[in-house]
Amino acid sequence: MMKSSTTRRLGLVLVFVGAPLLQFAMPYANWIRTSAAIAAGLMLVFFAREGIHDERVQELKLRAVTVAFSVSFTLTLILHWFLNRDFDVTRDFDGASMAMRSISAFDLIIVTMATALALFLYWRWQDGISDDGRSPSTTS
C-alpha cells in the first residue's frame, strides 16, 4: 500500500506540475484534460491518510465532504441557472454554437474537493486551538 505522504505528494504534483504542463506545454490546450488532472490530484490529497489517522480525522473528513457536495451542487445549479435561465442540468451544450452551458463533472469534483479540503483544514486547525485561544505548541 502507498504511504500517506507519497499519496499526498503525488496529488500535489498532479495539481501544481501535471495540470499546468497539460494546459500550457502540450499542443492543443484542453481544459477537460487539465481539469481531470486537477480533480484527480485534489482527490489524492484529500483522501490520503493523515500522519495520525484517528477517529476525529475520519469524522471531520466525512463531514467536510458531505458539506462540500451540498455546496458545490448548489453552486452548479445557481451557475446553470445564470447561464441558461433554467435548471435543466441535462443540457450541457448549446446545440447550435456548441458553447458550454454548464460546468463539467471534473469541474464539479474540483469545486467539491477544494471546498472539502478547505473545510477539513480549517476544522483541524480549530481543533488545535485551546479555549483561551493559545496556539497548539504552547498548550501543555
Binding site: I52, R56, E59, D127, G128, S130, P136, T139, S140
Partner: protein
C-alpha cells in the same frame, strides 16, 4: 458532554501530545476532547478511562 480529561492529564504532568501518543490519537484530537468540541467514541472513551484508572462515568458526565 463534560469531561475531566484536562484535569486528569495535567495532574500527571502530561502534555496533550504525550496523552495522544499513549492513546494513539493526535494532539488536536485530545484538544478537541478537552475543549468539548468532540465526544470520543466508546472504544476511545474506554481507552481513556483505562489509562487514568477510572470508569467512563467518572471522566465523562452528561451535561443535560
Amino acid at each position: 458532554m463534560e469531561n475531566r480529561v484536562r484535569a486528569l492529564r495535567t495532574a500527571r504532568g502530561w502534555s496533550q501530545g504525550e496523552l495522544g501518543q499513549r492513546l494513539g490519537v493526535s494532539r488536536q484530537t485530545i484538544n478537541a476532547i478537552e475543549t468539548e468540541k468532540y465526544d470520543p467514541s466508546l472504544p476511545l472513551a474506554f481507552k481513556i478511562a483505562r489509562l487514568f484508572g477510572q470508569t467512563i462515568e467518572q471522566i465523562f458526565q452528561d451535561a443535560s
